[in-house]
Amino acid sequence: MTIRLTWKRVIVTLLGIFALGMAYAWSGLFNVAASSGHWAITDWFLHWVMRNSVQTRAAFSTPKEAKDDSGLVSAAGYYASSCASCHGAPGVRPLPLMQKATPPAPDLSKNAKEWTDRQLFWILEHGVKFSGMPAWAAKDRPDEVKRMVAFVRLLPTMTPEQYRVLAGSNAQGFGAANGRFDSCAGCHGSDGLGRGQKDIPILAGQDPAYLAAALEAYATGKRQSAVMSNAAAQLTPEERIALARRFAAMPGIAPGRGGNSDVAARRIVERGLPDKQLPACRSCHDAAGDKRFPVIDGQRAVYIAERLRHWRGEKEVVDARKDQATMPVIARRIPEDMIEPVARYLAGE
């Protein structure tokens, strides 16, 4: 007996299959339990799809230089407080609870080797659907992601001792210290000097009102940083003010700590470039008298330059579409080649 294929029959059959599928989903017979895991073939298929997706997308939408080795401390602190509970860390087991997820987070000391820098960057930036891997918690912060790529790259060879040194006080527990002074000190140092890291700003000696405002901006997402928003979001306004005061009271940056022999940079800092409508840095950032702006004398040059570049934004976007707040506008008027010299001059490096 032969069955003749007609359009009607095909459509009815497809609709029937769809209805059966929906009925199965509606019945609740499908098991969504994480405890039962996947069938081997499902596991293989899901991972195969995920690998293909990461490989293809990483090739198109990640920076060519996807790794930055220069700021491992801030990456380690963030890893310790946000990643280690699922992935574990050198000398630290992941939480048994987190390993009961389906799929369980991979052990990066083995798994990181399977990916290129750009693929790691893509996974960190975007996360992975249906796996529990979240996306990066801040917009427009490729610099943070690059530092994390560098840190993850080192995990296969990192000793527990090296990890403890990098992550500082945050290595002790999974975010247990978050919101406390110890957690801040893990990266910023218990002296507020940033543990000698170029990308971590010095907090000691800063204006307390500015520090509290910065924490609030991180907590509300007005200032973007995955690392800092995770830390600040857990603080009450009172705690933010208390922490700001504690760091501000330490000896650190101060007016007069900057300066070097660069004449062109000094011109911009002290007098500005009126023909480029760039006011002097000193008209706001100067503690002679009562100013409403942060102290930048003696701050880290890399941090200052990074901030200025971030404010400038993409070259391809016209100014009118960019942020019109004070520093973004001013940063865009500093000639590109003067950003580094100005940052070094302010830092006194």
């Binding site: 500005g272 006011p279 409403r292």
Partner: protein, 324 residues
């Protein structure tokens, strides 16, 4: 046909919206503008007479019985009305209008006012003969009956300076100084505008023009020359002005503020409008401008100050408002 008439009528209503006594080439208060208006009216009347004549000729030609018009009479008519008459009329008009192109005579002792167009405001410097210059911004005052020479230039892009009631337009071109000589004929408050597209806020780049009796003008200029005396109650505003770094761009005579990037604010409270003709001067408008200038004037070179406290903004506004 009726639809066309109706839409012309509606369009004319919109045109009426342009009528006002502050910014109009028909409301003249200067000699050059008066000449231009006179010329415009003469030409308009002449154009109407000529158009009516052409229409009458056309009606005559169309209604003429067959055989009445010959080729040679037609050619003769075209020769006279299409050739000779226009030559005579245009030549007459040229001779009649040539004197209007001659600039007013200006003497060494006349007041000169240097105006520089910037995105999107006016840098103004009064240069009275034999005295030091006086710097201000976004407002022009002229003495009635005295000849004044404007030296016009631009700092960034091409602007154009037009006070419709006083004189014709004059372009402001970077690297070049254009002269415009005017003489106001009656006192009053008028308005000028930028008439060359210069960026996002081109349409918001205007200024008030005050024509004053000579004695009142001299008194005003003498006051303008002195630092303002802000009310003692605004000392907090002066401190907030310094603490927020306003002096990085703005100058206030008699204080440490000497920034040359933005408008001089020495007597800002005495100006009739804020933000280059953007809105009437008031405390609330000042607060809004201080807090977020780009929201009021898109593309303004002054950044927003989202971090500034409301108290600071209000104190600065009170301080500036008292700078008369």
């Amino acid at each position: 046909m009726r639809g066309v008439k109706a839409s012309c009528g509606v369009a004319a209503l919109f045109v009426l919206g342009g009528c006002n006594r502050h910014q109009s080439a028909l409301t003249v208060f200067g000699e050059e503008a008066a000449t231009v208006r006179h010329l415009t009216i003469v030409m308009l009347v002449g154009a109407i007479v000529i158009a009516a004549g052409v229409a009458a000729l056309m009606i005559t030609a169309v209604r003429a019985p067959e055989g009445r018009l010959t080729l040679s009479s037609g050619m003769r008519l075209i020769g006279w009305v299409g050739g000779v008459v226009p030559v005579v009329v245009l030549l007459g008009l040229l001779l009649y209008s040539l004197p209007a192109m001659r600039p007013l005579p200006v003497a060494q002792g006349d007041l000169r006012i240097a105006v520089e167009g910037e995105q999107f405001w006016w840098r103004v410097q009064y240069q009275p003969p034999g005295a030091a210059p006086v710097v201000t911004a976004n407002e022009i005052r002229v003495p009635v009956g005295r000849t004044v020479q404007f030296d016009l230039t631009a700092g960034d892009v091409i602007h154009s300076f037009w006070i419709p009631g006083l004189a014709g337009k004059m372009d402001m071109i970077p690297g070049r100084t254009n002269r415009l000589i005017v003489r106001a004929s009656r006192p009053g408050t008028f308005r000028g505008v930028c008439t060359e597209f210069c960026g996002l806020s081109h349409a918001l780049m205007a200024f008030d023009v005050v024509a004053m009796e000579p004695a009142a003008f001299d008194a005003w200029l003498a006051n303008e020359r002195r630092p303002a005396a802000p009310a003692a109650a605004t000392a907090a505003g002066a401190r907030a002005f310094a603490a927020n770094g306003c002096a990085g761009c703005h100058a206030i005579a008699g204080t440490d503020a000497a920034g040359q990037i933005g408008p001089d604010l020495t007597h800002v409270g005495s100006r009739t409008s804020l933000g280059a003709g953007n809105q009437p001067m008031s405390r609330a408008a000042l607060v809004r401008f201080i807090e977020d200038a780009p929201a009021v004037k898109p593309g303004a070179r002054m950044p927003a100050y989202p971090q500034m406290s409301r108290q600071d903004a209000q104190a600065i506004a009170a301080y500036l408002e008292s700078m008369k």
